[in-house]
Protein backbone atom coordinates (compact mmCIF):
# COMPACT_ATOMS: atom_id res chain seq x y z
CA UNK A 1 0.00 0.00 0.00
CA UNK A 2 2.80 2.38 0.91
CA UNK A 3 4.52 1.67 -2.40
CA UNK A 4 1.37 2.30 -4.32
CA UNK A 5 0.69 5.56 -2.62
CA UNK A 6 4.21 6.87 -3.20
CA UNK A 7 3.88 5.97 -6.84
CA UNK A 8 0.61 7.80 -6.94
CA UNK A 9 2.18 10.92 -5.54
CA UNK A 10 4.86 10.97 -8.25
CA UNK A 11 3.01 9.87 -11.34
CA UNK A 12 5.47 11.46 -13.76
CA UNK A 13 8.42 9.34 -12.68
CA UNK A 14 6.96 6.18 -14.16
CA UNK A 15 7.17 7.69 -17.62
CA UNK A 16 10.97 7.84 -17.67
CA UNK A 17 13.17 4.91 -18.62
CA UNK A 18 14.85 4.77 -15.24
CA UNK A 19 12.32 6.47 -12.99
CA UNK A 20 14.41 6.69 -9.84
CA UNK A 21 17.47 8.01 -11.66
CA UNK A 22 15.60 10.76 -13.44
CA UNK A 23 13.79 11.67 -10.25
CA UNK A 24 17.12 12.11 -8.46
CA UNK A 25 18.51 14.13 -11.34
CA UNK A 26 15.51 16.42 -11.28
CA UNK A 27 15.71 17.00 -7.53
CA UNK A 28 19.45 17.59 -7.79
CA UNK A 29 19.12 20.09 -10.62
CA UNK A 30 16.31 21.87 -8.81
CA UNK A 31 18.45 22.10 -5.71
CA UNK A 32 21.52 23.40 -7.54
CA UNK A 33 19.29 25.84 -9.39
CA UNK A 34 17.99 27.06 -6.03
CA UNK A 35 21.49 27.47 -4.58
CA UNK A 36 22.69 29.25 -7.73
CA UNK A 37 19.81 31.72 -7.60
CA UNK A 38 20.28 32.29 -3.88
CA UNK A 39 23.99 32.95 -4.40
CA UNK A 40 23.20 35.65 -6.93
CA UNK A 41 20.96 37.41 -4.43
CA UNK A 42 23.30 39.84 -2.64
CA UNK A 43 20.78 40.69 0.08
CA UNK A 44 20.15 37.06 0.96
CA UNK A 45 23.86 36.29 1.14
CA UNK A 46 24.53 39.36 3.26
CA UNK A 47 21.65 38.45 5.58
CA UNK A 48 22.84 34.87 5.86
CA UNK A 49 26.39 36.04 6.58
CA UNK A 50 25.34 38.39 9.42
CA UNK A 51 22.97 35.77 10.77
CA UNK A 52 25.75 33.18 10.68
CA UNK A 53 28.02 35.50 12.65
CA UNK A 54 25.29 36.10 15.23
CA UNK A 55 24.62 32.40 15.64
CA UNK A 56 28.34 31.77 15.97
CA UNK A 57 28.64 34.53 18.56
CA UNK A 58 25.73 33.06 20.52
CA UNK A 59 27.30 29.59 20.52
CA UNK A 60 30.79 30.80 21.36
CA UNK A 61 29.66 33.43 23.90
CA UNK A 62 31.80 32.17 26.81
CA UNK A 63 34.86 31.90 24.54
CA UNK A 64 34.67 35.30 22.87
CA UNK A 65 33.85 37.33 26.00
CA UNK A 66 35.84 37.74 29.17
CA UNK A 67 33.32 39.19 31.63
CA UNK A 68 30.32 37.83 33.48
CA UNK A 69 27.08 38.98 31.82
CA UNK A 70 25.23 39.23 35.14
CA UNK A 71 27.70 39.97 37.98
CA UNK A 72 27.51 43.60 39.15
CA UNK A 73 30.67 45.75 39.19
CA UNK A 74 29.74 49.19 40.68
CA UNK A 75 33.25 50.61 40.23
CA UNK A 76 32.98 50.37 36.46
CA UNK A 77 29.43 51.67 36.03
CA UNK A 78 28.52 53.58 32.84
CA UNK A 79 32.00 53.46 31.34
CA UNK A 80 32.18 54.68 27.77
CA UNK A 81 33.53 52.28 25.14
CA UNK A 82 37.23 51.62 25.73
CA UNK A 83 39.87 48.98 25.22
CA UNK A 84 38.73 47.10 28.34
CA UNK A 85 35.05 47.46 27.58
CA UNK A 86 34.64 47.57 23.80
CA UNK A 87 31.02 48.69 23.91
CA UNK A 88 31.09 50.36 27.33
CA UNK A 89 29.35 49.27 30.52
CA UNK A 90 25.80 49.54 31.82
CA UNK A 91 24.51 51.27 35.02
CA UNK A 92 25.56 48.20 37.01
CA UNK A 93 29.07 48.14 35.60
CA UNK A 94 28.45 45.06 33.45
CA UNK A 95 30.31 44.82 30.16
CA UNK A 96 27.83 45.60 27.36
CA UNK A 97 29.69 43.61 24.71
CA UNK A 98 29.45 40.53 26.92
CA UNK A 99 25.79 41.14 27.65
CA UNK A 100 24.86 41.77 24.04
CA UNK A 101 26.65 38.58 22.93
CA UNK A 102 24.89 36.55 25.62
CA UNK A 103 21.69 38.30 24.57
CA UNK A 104 21.93 36.60 21.19
CA UNK A 105 21.50 33.32 23.09
CA UNK A 106 18.10 34.59 24.20
CA UNK A 107 16.71 36.68 21.35
CA UNK A 108 17.51 34.30 18.49
CA UNK A 109 15.96 31.19 20.09
CA UNK A 110 12.99 33.22 21.37
CA UNK A 111 12.22 34.43 17.84
CA UNK A 112 12.71 30.99 16.33
CA UNK A 113 10.70 29.11 18.97
CA UNK A 114 7.83 31.61 18.68
CA UNK A 115 7.79 31.09 14.92
CA UNK A 116 7.94 27.30 15.34
CA UNK A 117 4.90 27.51 17.64
CA UNK A 118 2.92 29.59 15.16
CA UNK A 119 4.10 27.72 12.07
CA UNK A 120 3.36 24.21 13.34
CA UNK A 121 0.04 25.03 15.00
CA UNK A 122 -1.05 27.28 12.14
CA UNK A 123 -0.06 24.76 9.47
CA UNK A 124 -1.85 21.85 11.17
CA UNK A 125 -5.00 23.95 11.65
CA UNK A 126 -4.84 25.12 8.02
CA UNK A 127 -4.39 21.54 6.79
CA UNK A 128 -7.35 20.30 8.79
CA UNK A 129 -9.59 23.25 7.89
CA UNK A 130 -8.78 23.02 4.20
CA UNK A 131 -8.97 19.25 3.92
CA UNK A 132 -12.06 18.46 5.97
CA UNK A 133 -14.00 21.60 5.06
CA UNK A 134 -17.60 22.15 6.20
CA UNK A 135 -18.13 22.50 9.96
CA UNK A 136 -14.50 21.81 10.89
CA UNK A 137 -13.39 24.54 8.50
CA UNK A 138 -16.08 26.88 9.79
CA UNK A 139 -15.10 26.44 13.43
CA UNK A 140 -11.36 26.75 12.82
CA UNK A 141 -11.69 29.81 10.62
CA UNK A 142 -14.02 31.59 13.05
CA UNK A 143 -11.45 30.97 15.81
CA UNK A 144 -8.79 32.42 13.55
CA UNK A 145 -11.00 35.46 12.88
CA UNK A 146 -11.26 36.01 16.61
CA UNK A 147 -7.48 35.78 17.01
CA UNK A 148 -7.13 38.28 14.17
CA UNK A 149 -9.40 40.71 16.00
CA UNK A 150 -6.58 41.41 18.43
CA UNK A 151 -3.76 43.62 17.18
CA UNK A 152 -0.42 41.84 17.80
CA UNK A 153 0.65 43.24 21.13
CA UNK A 154 -2.85 43.18 22.59
CA UNK A 155 -3.11 39.44 22.09
CA UNK A 156 0.27 39.05 23.76
CA UNK A 157 -1.01 41.21 26.61
CA UNK A 158 -4.00 38.92 27.07
CA UNK A 159 -1.77 35.86 27.18
CA UNK A 160 0.84 37.42 29.45
CA UNK A 161 -1.94 38.71 31.71
CA UNK A 162 -3.20 35.15 32.08
CA UNK A 163 0.09 33.26 32.26
CA UNK A 164 2.22 35.90 33.98
CA UNK A 165 5.10 38.02 32.71
CA UNK A 166 8.20 36.01 31.80
CA UNK A 167 10.23 35.06 28.75
CA UNK A 168 8.61 31.66 28.21
CA UNK A 169 5.15 33.17 28.17
CA UNK A 170 6.29 35.87 25.76
CA UNK A 171 7.39 33.13 23.37
CA UNK A 172 3.99 31.48 23.69
CA UNK A 173 2.21 34.82 23.29
CA UNK A 174 4.13 35.84 20.18
CA UNK A 175 3.74 32.30 18.85
CA UNK A 176 -0.04 32.26 19.25
CA UNK A 177 -0.28 35.71 17.68
CA UNK A 178 1.36 34.36 14.52
CA UNK A 179 -0.95 31.35 14.06
CA UNK A 180 -3.65 32.99 11.85
CA UNK A 181 -1.29 33.87 9.01
CA UNK A 182 -0.15 30.25 8.62
CA UNK A 183 -3.63 28.83 8.93
CA UNK A 184 -4.96 31.13 6.21
CA UNK A 185 -2.00 30.51 3.93
CA UNK A 186 -1.96 26.72 4.28
CA UNK A 187 -5.75 26.41 4.12
CA UNK A 188 -5.72 28.26 0.81
CA UNK A 189 -3.07 25.97 -0.65
CA UNK A 190 -4.86 22.85 0.62
CA UNK A 191 -8.13 23.98 -0.94
CA UNK A 192 -6.48 24.18 -4.34
CA UNK A 193 -4.40 21.00 -4.06
CA UNK A 194 -7.27 18.93 -2.61
CA UNK A 195 -8.74 18.61 -6.08
CA UNK A 196 -5.48 17.54 -7.74
CA UNK A 197 -5.15 14.14 -9.37
CA UNK A 198 -2.57 12.65 -7.02
CA UNK A 199 -4.81 13.37 -4.03
CA UNK A 200 -7.81 11.85 -5.77
CA UNK A 201 -5.69 8.84 -6.70
CA UNK A 202 -4.45 8.34 -3.17
CA UNK A 203 -8.02 8.58 -1.86
CA UNK A 204 -9.35 6.15 -4.47
CA UNK A 205 -6.87 3.43 -3.58
CA UNK A 206 -7.94 3.76 0.05
CA UNK A 207 -5.10 5.68 1.66
CA UNK A 208 -6.34 6.90 5.05
CA UNK A 209 -7.15 10.62 5.27
CA UNK A 210 -4.40 11.28 7.80
CA UNK A 211 -1.77 9.81 5.47
CA UNK A 212 -3.12 11.69 2.46
CA UNK A 213 -3.03 14.88 4.47
CA UNK A 214 0.42 14.62 5.98
CA UNK A 215 2.32 12.58 3.39
CA UNK A 216 0.83 13.82 0.15
CA UNK A 217 -0.70 17.25 0.68
CA UNK A 218 1.64 18.65 3.32
CA UNK A 219 4.87 18.42 1.26
CA UNK A 220 3.14 20.27 -1.55
CA UNK A 221 1.84 23.16 0.51
CA UNK A 222 4.73 23.60 2.92
CA UNK A 223 6.91 25.82 0.65
CA UNK A 224 5.08 29.12 1.16
CA UNK A 225 4.76 28.36 4.90
CA UNK A 226 8.54 27.96 5.13
CA UNK A 227 9.07 31.31 3.38
CA UNK A 228 6.56 32.94 5.70
CA UNK A 229 8.40 31.44 8.70
CA UNK A 230 11.69 32.94 7.59
CA UNK A 231 10.05 36.30 7.07
CA UNK A 232 8.33 36.17 10.48
CA UNK A 233 11.39 35.37 12.60
CA UNK A 234 12.40 39.03 12.38
CA UNK A 235 9.06 40.38 13.51
CA UNK A 236 8.88 37.73 16.24
CA UNK A 237 12.25 38.88 17.59
CA UNK A 238 11.04 42.49 17.49
CA UNK A 239 7.77 41.63 19.23
CA UNK A 240 9.48 39.63 21.97
CA UNK A 241 12.06 42.38 22.52
CA UNK A 242 9.21 44.91 22.67
CA UNK A 243 7.38 42.91 25.33
CA UNK A 244 10.57 42.55 27.37
CA UNK A 245 11.14 46.29 26.94
CA UNK A 246 7.70 46.85 28.48
CA UNK A 247 8.64 44.64 31.44
CA UNK A 248 6.40 41.77 30.40
CA UNK A 249 9.09 39.38 29.20
CA UNK A 250 12.64 38.70 30.33
CA UNK A 251 13.26 40.25 33.74
CA UNK A 252 16.51 41.94 34.81
CA UNK A 253 19.32 40.99 35.14
CA UNK A 254 18.76 38.61 32.20
CA UNK A 255 20.81 40.00 29.28
CA UNK A 256 17.81 40.22 26.96
CA UNK A 257 18.14 43.03 24.39
CA UNK A 258 14.70 44.57 24.94
CA UNK A 259 15.02 44.71 28.70
CA UNK A 260 18.64 45.98 28.41
CA UNK A 261 17.31 48.84 26.31
CA UNK A 262 14.64 49.65 28.89
CA UNK A 263 17.30 49.74 31.60
CA UNK A 264 19.22 52.47 29.82
CA UNK A 265 16.45 55.02 29.41
CA UNK A 266 17.59 57.31 32.28
CA UNK A 267 21.05 57.52 30.75
CA UNK A 268 20.04 58.56 27.23
CA UNK A 269 22.04 61.78 27.24
CA UNK A 270 24.94 60.86 29.49
CA UNK A 271 25.56 57.30 28.31
CA UNK A 272 23.71 56.73 25.02
CA UNK A 273 25.61 53.50 24.36
CA UNK A 274 23.58 51.71 27.03
CA UNK A 275 20.52 51.90 24.77
CA UNK A 276 22.30 52.01 21.40
CA UNK A 277 24.21 48.76 21.80
CA UNK A 278 21.15 46.53 22.34
CA UNK A 279 19.21 48.67 19.84
CA UNK A 280 21.75 48.04 17.12
CA UNK A 281 21.87 44.35 18.07
CA UNK A 282 18.11 44.01 17.63
CA UNK A 283 18.11 45.96 14.37
CA UNK A 284 21.01 44.04 12.88
CA UNK A 285 19.48 40.69 13.76
CA UNK A 286 16.05 41.55 12.40
CA UNK A 287 17.60 43.17 9.33
CA UNK A 288 19.66 40.07 8.53
CA UNK A 289 16.66 37.78 8.98
CA UNK A 290 14.54 40.04 6.77
CA UNK A 291 17.23 40.24 4.08
CA UNK A 292 17.53 36.47 4.02
CA UNK A 293 13.77 35.97 4.07
CA UNK A 294 13.27 38.43 1.21
CA UNK A 295 15.95 36.69 -0.82
CA UNK A 296 14.47 33.29 -0.15
CA UNK A 297 11.04 34.51 -1.26
CA UNK A 298 12.47 36.04 -4.44
CA UNK A 299 14.18 32.77 -5.31
CA UNK A 300 11.25 30.50 -4.48
CA UNK A 301 8.53 32.74 -5.89
CA UNK A 302 9.67 34.11 -9.25
CA UNK A 303 6.61 36.37 -9.51
CA UNK A 304 7.83 38.58 -6.69
CA UNK A 305 11.29 38.95 -8.23
CA UNK A 306 12.74 42.40 -8.63
CA UNK A 307 13.12 42.49 -12.41
Amino acid sequence: MAQMSSAASTPLSSAAADPLQSQFARVRSRRSDFIRKLRKNTGAILGLFILGLLVLAAILAPVITQYDPIAIDPVNRLQSPSREHWLGTDPFGRDLYTRVVYGARISLPVGIIAVVISATTGTVLGLIAGFYGRITDGIIMRLIDILLAFPDILLSLVIVAILGPNLRNVMIAVGIGGIPRYTRLVRGSVLSSRELLYVEAAKVIGVPNKVVLFRHILPNVIGPAVVLSTLSVGSAILAAAGLSFLGLGAQPPTPEWGSMLAGGRQFLTTSPWVTSVPGIAIMLTVLSVNLFGDGLRDVLDPRSKKD
Binding site: R142, A149, P151, G247, L261, G279, M283
Partner: protein, 314 residues
Protein backbone atom coordinates in the same frame (compact mmCIF):
# COMPACT_ATOMS: atom_id res chain seq x y z
CA UNK B 1 -23.10 46.82 -2.22
CA UNK B 2 -25.71 46.84 0.53
CA UNK B 3 -25.71 43.05 0.47
CA UNK B 4 -21.94 42.97 0.80
CA UNK B 5 -22.08 45.27 3.82
CA UNK B 6 -24.84 43.11 5.33
CA UNK B 7 -22.82 39.90 4.98
CA UNK B 8 -19.73 41.60 6.31
CA UNK B 9 -21.69 42.94 9.31
CA UNK B 10 -23.14 39.50 10.02
CA UNK B 11 -19.66 37.97 9.96
CA UNK B 12 -18.53 40.55 12.49
CA UNK B 13 -21.03 39.42 15.13
CA UNK B 14 -19.41 36.05 16.00
CA UNK B 15 -16.02 37.75 16.05
CA UNK B 16 -17.21 40.39 18.51
CA UNK B 17 -18.80 37.68 20.66
CA UNK B 18 -15.53 35.75 20.59
CA UNK B 19 -13.60 38.86 21.56
CA UNK B 20 -15.91 39.51 24.48
CA UNK B 21 -15.64 35.86 25.51
CA UNK B 22 -11.83 36.07 25.54
CA UNK B 23 -11.91 39.32 27.46
CA UNK B 24 -14.36 37.78 29.95
CA UNK B 25 -12.27 34.63 30.29
CA UNK B 26 -9.10 36.45 31.36
CA UNK B 27 -10.33 36.64 34.95
CA UNK B 28 -11.24 32.97 34.93
CA UNK B 29 -8.15 31.63 33.22
CA UNK B 30 -5.61 33.11 35.61
CA UNK B 31 -4.25 30.47 37.95
CA UNK B 32 -5.97 30.73 41.31
CA UNK B 33 -9.19 32.24 42.59
CA UNK B 34 -9.70 35.85 41.44
CA UNK B 35 -11.19 36.84 44.81
CA UNK B 36 -8.20 35.45 46.69
CA UNK B 37 -5.77 37.18 44.33
CA UNK B 38 -7.64 40.44 44.74
CA UNK B 39 -7.66 40.16 48.53
CA UNK B 40 -4.00 39.23 48.77
CA UNK B 41 -3.09 42.09 46.41
CA UNK B 42 -5.20 44.58 48.33
CA UNK B 43 -4.11 43.31 51.73
CA UNK B 44 -0.41 43.55 50.87
CA UNK B 45 1.99 41.78 53.18
CA UNK B 46 0.54 43.26 56.39
CA UNK B 47 -1.84 40.44 57.18
CA UNK B 48 0.47 37.81 55.77
CA UNK B 49 -1.83 37.50 52.77
CA UNK B 50 -4.45 35.60 54.82
CA UNK B 51 -7.70 37.43 54.29
CA UNK B 52 -10.49 36.34 56.56
CA UNK B 53 -12.81 33.73 55.20
CA UNK B 54 -15.81 36.05 55.57
CA UNK B 55 -14.20 38.83 53.55
CA UNK B 56 -13.33 36.29 50.88
CA UNK B 57 -16.89 34.96 50.70
CA UNK B 58 -18.28 38.49 50.60
CA UNK B 59 -15.99 39.43 47.76
CA UNK B 60 -16.90 36.32 45.82
CA UNK B 61 -20.56 37.19 46.14
CA UNK B 62 -19.85 40.82 45.24
CA UNK B 63 -17.93 39.84 42.12
CA UNK B 64 -20.69 37.39 41.22
CA UNK B 65 -18.19 34.52 41.19
CA UNK B 66 -20.72 32.15 42.76
CA UNK B 67 -23.00 32.32 39.72
CA UNK B 68 -22.66 29.77 36.90
CA UNK B 69 -20.13 30.91 34.25
CA UNK B 70 -22.79 31.45 31.61
CA UNK B 71 -24.70 33.78 33.95
CA UNK B 72 -21.50 35.64 34.74
CA UNK B 73 -20.77 36.04 31.04
CA UNK B 74 -24.28 37.31 30.41
CA UNK B 75 -23.88 39.86 33.20
CA UNK B 76 -20.51 40.89 31.84
CA UNK B 77 -21.88 41.44 28.34
CA UNK B 78 -25.02 43.26 29.41
CA UNK B 79 -22.99 45.53 31.69
CA UNK B 80 -20.41 46.15 28.96
CA UNK B 81 -23.10 47.14 26.48
CA UNK B 82 -24.30 49.73 28.98
CA UNK B 83 -20.73 50.99 29.27
CA UNK B 84 -20.15 49.46 32.70
CA UNK B 85 -16.80 47.67 32.59
CA UNK B 86 -16.36 47.39 36.34
CA UNK B 87 -14.00 49.21 38.68
CA UNK B 88 -10.23 49.33 38.59
CA UNK B 89 -8.56 47.32 41.37
CA UNK B 90 -5.81 49.92 41.73
CA UNK B 91 -7.61 53.27 41.42
CA UNK B 92 -11.19 52.17 42.21
CA UNK B 93 -12.31 54.38 39.31
CA UNK B 94 -14.83 53.08 36.76
CA UNK B 95 -12.88 51.35 33.98
CA UNK B 96 -15.16 52.72 31.26
CA UNK B 97 -14.59 56.34 32.28
CA UNK B 98 -10.83 55.91 32.49
CA UNK B 99 -10.75 54.43 29.00
CA UNK B 100 -12.96 57.16 27.54
CA UNK B 101 -10.66 59.73 29.15
CA UNK B 102 -7.55 58.28 27.58
CA UNK B 103 -8.90 57.04 24.25
CA UNK B 104 -8.63 60.38 22.38
CA UNK B 105 -4.90 60.63 23.17
CA UNK B 106 -4.23 57.18 21.72
CA UNK B 107 -6.43 57.78 18.68
CA UNK B 108 -4.64 61.08 18.04
CA UNK B 109 -1.27 59.34 18.18
CA UNK B 110 -2.40 56.48 15.96
CA UNK B 111 -4.04 58.69 13.33
CA UNK B 112 -1.08 61.09 13.15
CA UNK B 113 1.29 58.12 12.96
CA UNK B 114 -0.78 56.58 10.20
CA UNK B 115 -0.80 59.87 8.29
CA UNK B 116 2.99 60.13 8.47
CA UNK B 117 3.37 56.47 7.49
CA UNK B 118 1.09 56.87 4.46
CA UNK B 119 2.77 60.05 3.21
CA UNK B 120 6.33 58.71 3.57
CA UNK B 121 5.36 55.23 2.34
CA UNK B 122 3.59 56.55 -0.75
CA UNK B 123 6.33 58.97 -1.72
CA UNK B 124 9.10 56.40 -1.25
CA UNK B 125 7.16 53.61 -2.96
CA UNK B 126 6.29 55.71 -6.01
CA UNK B 127 9.83 57.08 -6.36
CA UNK B 128 11.31 53.58 -6.05
CA UNK B 129 8.98 52.23 -8.74
CA UNK B 130 9.70 55.15 -11.10
CA UNK B 131 13.42 54.58 -10.85
CA UNK B 132 13.29 50.79 -10.69
CA UNK B 133 16.66 49.07 -10.38
CA UNK B 134 18.62 52.32 -10.03
CA UNK B 135 20.49 53.52 -6.94
CA UNK B 136 17.43 55.58 -5.98
CA UNK B 137 15.34 52.40 -5.87
CA UNK B 138 18.00 50.58 -3.85
CA UNK B 139 18.35 53.47 -1.41
CA UNK B 140 14.62 53.81 -0.77
CA UNK B 141 14.27 50.07 -0.33
CA UNK B 142 17.19 49.97 2.12
CA UNK B 143 15.47 52.76 4.04
CA UNK B 144 12.22 50.83 4.19
CA UNK B 145 13.99 47.62 5.18
CA UNK B 146 15.67 49.48 8.03
CA UNK B 147 12.25 50.83 9.02
CA UNK B 148 10.93 47.27 9.12
CA UNK B 149 13.84 46.08 11.24
CA UNK B 150 14.13 49.01 13.63
CA UNK B 151 12.70 48.51 17.11
CA UNK B 152 10.35 51.45 17.58
CA UNK B 153 11.40 51.87 21.19
CA UNK B 154 15.01 52.43 20.18
CA UNK B 155 14.05 54.83 17.38
CA UNK B 156 11.99 56.72 19.96
CA UNK B 157 14.99 56.97 22.27
CA UNK B 158 17.19 58.18 19.40
CA UNK B 159 14.68 60.87 18.45
CA UNK B 160 14.33 61.95 22.09
CA UNK B 161 18.09 62.13 22.44
CA UNK B 162 18.66 64.19 19.30
CA UNK B 163 15.52 66.28 18.87
CA UNK B 164 14.85 66.99 22.54
CA UNK B 165 18.03 66.73 24.55
CA UNK B 166 20.65 67.75 21.99
CA UNK B 167 18.81 70.38 19.97
CA UNK B 168 15.90 71.16 22.27
CA UNK B 169 13.47 71.31 19.34
CA UNK B 170 10.59 69.25 20.69
CA UNK B 171 9.42 68.00 24.07
CA UNK B 172 10.66 64.52 25.03
CA UNK B 173 7.52 63.53 26.86
CA UNK B 174 4.05 64.64 27.84
CA UNK B 175 0.62 64.54 26.26
CA UNK B 176 -0.37 68.19 25.98
CA UNK B 177 -0.45 70.07 22.69
CA UNK B 178 0.54 69.33 19.15
CA UNK B 179 4.28 69.69 19.85
CA UNK B 180 4.28 66.75 22.20
CA UNK B 181 2.58 64.69 19.50
CA UNK B 182 5.23 65.18 16.81
CA UNK B 183 8.02 62.90 18.05
CA UNK B 184 5.79 60.00 19.12
CA UNK B 185 3.78 59.98 15.91
CA UNK B 186 6.93 60.37 13.81
CA UNK B 187 8.41 57.31 15.54
CA UNK B 188 5.25 55.36 14.94
CA UNK B 189 4.94 56.53 11.32
CA UNK B 190 8.59 56.00 10.33
CA UNK B 191 8.51 52.38 11.43
CA UNK B 192 5.25 51.67 9.58
CA UNK B 193 6.28 53.58 6.44
CA UNK B 194 8.65 50.77 5.43
CA UNK B 195 5.86 48.24 4.92
CA UNK B 196 3.72 50.70 2.96
CA UNK B 197 6.64 51.79 0.76
CA UNK B 198 7.44 48.20 -0.19
CA UNK B 199 3.84 47.44 -1.03
CA UNK B 200 3.32 50.64 -3.03
CA UNK B 201 6.49 49.89 -4.99
CA UNK B 202 5.46 46.36 -5.90
CA UNK B 203 1.86 47.23 -6.82
CA UNK B 204 3.09 50.23 -8.84
CA UNK B 205 5.50 48.01 -10.76
CA UNK B 206 2.66 45.64 -11.52
CA UNK B 207 0.33 48.41 -12.63
CA UNK B 208 3.02 50.10 -14.73
CA UNK B 209 3.14 47.02 -16.94
CA UNK B 210 -0.57 47.14 -17.73
CA UNK B 211 -1.72 47.92 -21.23
CA UNK B 212 -3.61 51.05 -20.29
CA UNK B 213 -0.36 52.56 -19.00
CA UNK B 214 1.38 51.72 -22.26
CA UNK B 215 -1.56 53.27 -24.11
CA UNK B 216 -1.41 56.42 -22.03
CA UNK B 217 2.32 56.71 -22.67
CA UNK B 218 1.86 55.94 -26.36
CA UNK B 219 -0.66 58.69 -26.85
CA UNK B 220 1.96 61.10 -25.62
CA UNK B 221 0.97 61.83 -22.01
CA UNK B 222 3.75 63.03 -19.75
CA UNK B 223 5.34 60.33 -17.59
CA UNK B 224 4.51 62.17 -14.41
CA UNK B 225 0.82 62.52 -15.22
CA UNK B 226 0.67 58.85 -16.21
CA UNK B 227 2.20 57.91 -12.86
CA UNK B 228 -0.12 60.10 -10.82
CA UNK B 229 -3.28 60.01 -12.92
CA UNK B 230 -3.30 56.41 -14.06
CA UNK B 231 -0.87 54.21 -12.18
CA UNK B 232 -1.03 55.48 -8.62
CA UNK B 233 -4.81 55.48 -8.57
CA UNK B 234 -4.95 51.76 -9.30
CA UNK B 235 -1.94 50.89 -7.22
CA UNK B 236 -3.62 52.44 -4.20
CA UNK B 237 -6.39 49.85 -4.03
CA UNK B 238 -4.39 47.03 -2.40
CA UNK B 239 -2.65 49.61 -0.25
CA UNK B 240 -5.95 50.43 1.45
CA UNK B 241 -6.21 46.92 2.92
CA UNK B 242 -2.71 47.08 4.25
CA UNK B 243 -3.41 50.47 5.75
CA UNK B 244 -6.28 48.79 7.63
CA UNK B 245 -3.93 46.12 8.89
CA UNK B 246 -1.33 48.76 9.67
CA UNK B 247 -3.87 50.46 11.90
CA UNK B 248 -3.71 47.39 14.14
CA UNK B 249 0.06 47.48 13.99
CA UNK B 250 0.02 51.15 14.89
CA UNK B 251 -2.34 50.49 17.78
CA UNK B 252 0.17 47.91 19.00
CA UNK B 253 2.95 50.36 18.33
CA UNK B 254 1.12 52.98 20.39
CA UNK B 255 1.37 50.67 23.40
CA UNK B 256 5.17 50.84 23.18
CA UNK B 257 5.41 54.46 22.04
CA UNK B 258 3.25 55.70 24.92
CA UNK B 259 5.66 54.02 27.31
CA UNK B 260 8.73 55.42 25.54
CA UNK B 261 7.40 58.99 25.53
CA UNK B 262 5.59 58.72 28.88
CA UNK B 263 2.33 59.72 27.17
CA UNK B 264 -1.16 59.23 28.51
CA UNK B 265 -3.15 56.68 26.55
CA UNK B 266 -4.90 53.34 26.67
CA UNK B 267 -1.76 51.50 25.54
CA UNK B 268 0.13 52.50 28.63
CA UNK B 269 -2.98 51.98 30.69
CA UNK B 270 -3.14 48.36 29.48
CA UNK B 271 0.54 47.71 30.24
CA UNK B 272 0.26 49.19 33.72
CA UNK B 273 -2.87 47.10 34.28
CA UNK B 274 -1.07 43.89 33.30
CA UNK B 275 1.91 44.73 35.49
CA UNK B 276 -0.28 45.54 38.50
CA UNK B 277 -2.72 42.66 37.84
CA UNK B 278 -5.63 45.08 37.57
CA UNK B 279 -7.90 42.56 35.83
CA UNK B 280 -11.03 44.69 35.19
CA UNK B 281 -8.78 47.31 33.56
CA UNK B 282 -7.03 44.66 31.43
CA UNK B 283 -10.40 43.27 30.33
CA UNK B 284 -11.74 46.74 29.54
CA UNK B 285 -8.78 48.01 27.53
CA UNK B 286 -8.54 44.80 25.55
CA UNK B 287 -12.25 44.72 24.83
CA UNK B 288 -12.28 48.34 23.64
CA UNK B 289 -9.11 48.03 21.55
CA UNK B 290 -10.19 44.80 19.85
CA UNK B 291 -13.68 46.17 19.15
CA UNK B 292 -12.12 49.30 17.66
CA UNK B 293 -9.80 47.23 15.51
CA UNK B 294 -12.63 45.01 14.24
CA UNK B 295 -14.69 48.07 13.33
CA UNK B 296 -11.78 49.76 11.53
CA UNK B 297 -11.25 46.59 9.51
CA UNK B 298 -14.95 46.50 8.69
CA UNK B 299 -14.75 50.07 7.40
CA UNK B 300 -11.62 49.24 5.41
CA UNK B 301 -13.28 46.21 3.83
CA UNK B 302 -16.35 48.18 2.86
CA UNK B 303 -14.35 51.07 1.42
CA UNK B 304 -12.21 48.55 -0.43
CA UNK B 305 -15.31 47.09 -2.07
CA UNK B 306 -16.52 50.59 -2.85
CA UNK B 307 -13.23 51.48 -4.52
CA UNK B 308 -12.86 48.25 -6.44
CA UNK B 309 -16.22 46.93 -7.66
CA UNK B 310 -14.70 43.52 -8.51
CA UNK B 311 -14.50 42.65 -4.79
CA UNK B 312 -18.27 42.61 -4.25
CA UNK B 313 -18.65 39.71 -6.59
CA UNK B 314 -15.68 37.92 -5.04
Amino acid sequence: MLRFIQTRLLLTIPVLLGVSLISFSILHLIPGDPARILLSDAGGSGGGGDASEQAYLNLRAELGLDDPLIVQYFHYISNAIRGDLGYSYTTSQPVGNTIIDLLPATLQLTIFGLGIAIIIGLVLGVIASMYQNTWIDTLTMIFSLIGLSMPSFWLGFLLINFMSFRFGLLPASGSEGIQALILPSATLGLVAAGTIARLVRSTMLEVLQQEYIVTARAKGLRYRSVIIGHALRNALIPVVTVVGLQFGGLLSGAVIIETVFARRGIGRLAIDAVLSRDYPMIQGTILVAAFGYVIVNLIVDVSYAWMDPRIKYQ
